[in-house]
Amino acid sequence: MAAPMELYCWKGDYGLPSVDVDCLTVLAYAKFAGAPLKVHKITNPWRSPTGTLPALKTSEEGSLSQPSKIIIQLRKQKYNADYDLSAKEGADTLAFVSLLEEKLLPALIYTQWVDAKNYVDVTRRWYAEHTPFPLNFLLPNRIHSRQIERLRLIRGDAILEPEEQLEKELYQDALECMTLLSQRLGSHKFFFGDSPSSLDAYVFGHLAPLLKIKLPNAKLQQHLNSLENLQQFCTNILLLYFPSDSREAPSRKSAVHSDGSDFDNEPHKRRNQILSVLFAVAAMLGYAFLSGIVTIQSSRSQLDERRHDDEDEVEEAEEE
């Protein structure tokens, strides 16, 4: 038996096994296919073998990073969740995955990374709090610019249009996509029959963050909440396949609620304010001393000066 493969993922939170869309997809597929993976939940992408997350480390093939490649690799190792699908269902899988990536993913990127309030209040804060020092200063901004670039290139725009119009277009596509998924799912438990397949993994990976991560600007979430079968679908998968993570969620949430979101920041906020004021005062004083605006003279040095003055006077008198 070959050494078990290792999967590196972003850490989980909010009741999810991972906060990243691609990681969720891969984790879900692994559970569906019953692949024995050693999962490393990390917050430092530089620690992963390929530099990005998710990453699958195998003994023979090296490391792979994209979800589609990872799933293909797992399939090659005979962990295939699509074994029972007919050819037509396989074709449908391809089609719906394309639909997700073209219509839903841009809106997800927008709502988490481009929308100003969401980004600052939730996304950036989560990444800044969970990545180790000193990366927490660099990483969120880097991911931010990379995601914006990705969004721009996917849409093929030279410049991102004014926010409101862009948001409207993206959300319209995403809402339609979710409605279509809901219509396709109907009242079934999974998309194709009673056992989950890779399409279920992709849909779960894209919808679960939307469901669980509470964002201030939540238009997409509201629409998702109105589609009951999709909501049921996600919670179902969480309960069945990720029971430990979903159990953690309530306790964390209640902790946050009891403290209040502000209080969590308050000690930091106050501390930061005091530190910055002290720093500014110290800088001003330092400058004042160094440039001679303020000088402290001890009495001893005054005596020395007077002696020097007397000597100078004597010299001048001699000259004349």
Binding site: A95, F96, E149, L180, R184
Partner: protein, 275 residues
Amino acid sequence: MSLAAEAFVSQIAAAEPWPENAMLYQPLREDQILLSDCASSLAVQAYLRMLGLPVRVHCRANAEYMSPSGKVPFIHVGNQVVSELGPIVQFTRAKGHSLSDGLDDVQRAEMKAYMELVNNMLLTAELYIQWCDENTAAEITRPRYSSPYSWPLNHILAYQKQWEVRRKMNAIGWAGKSLEQVYEDVSQCCQALSQRLGTQPFFFNKQPTELDALVFGHLFTILTTRLTTDELSEKVKSYSNLLSFCRRIEQTYFESQDRDSQSGASDYSKGPSLM
């Protein structure tokens, strides 16, 4: 335009009927147009023919820059300019013409999903082969793309576009793929389409939809465009039901309509026919 103004304008658009002088703009057919643009343009033309809406095709060297979204083709109807198949479908639906009204919800979901499959895999593969494969780029794509411009602008624009496309491939994760893998993806996509089509004349029921127009546009162009190798068209040819699908649509909507119209005013851009 503000959102309210846009809604207002689309209401006006809905009120006016389709005029006789609608025009479709695309790059120059003989020297300039590329595989991906030709496929998109043919898809829109097929869609409009299926709806029975007349449109004249105009070739302009700067069609790509004239388009409001930067993508060809675009149509100029009345005083509205709409580009790309998706918005054009919505535009014609606002005027009361639609091909997919007869579908139920599940079928409509599938249709949209398969259209995205074609955009996601076939169109991206076409772009990859054109711009990221150095042989094709040097022999075919760059000379064609830069043909209307004089030195040194032709080189600057061609390389600029190539760089842009390569960055996009990077962003969506296709940069690491080899040419073989891309052909493999095309094959997978054709297999999925072939599966879905089965033995039916069109993808849904007996009536064509926008999915048929889109698939026809891409497959027909792939089959009739000569590249550095024949591998791409061979991948498509290996699915006989797709081949007969293309032939059927060509015969129904392109040849017969041309025979009917005496003046030959509907002048569509098609290279060699499928035999």
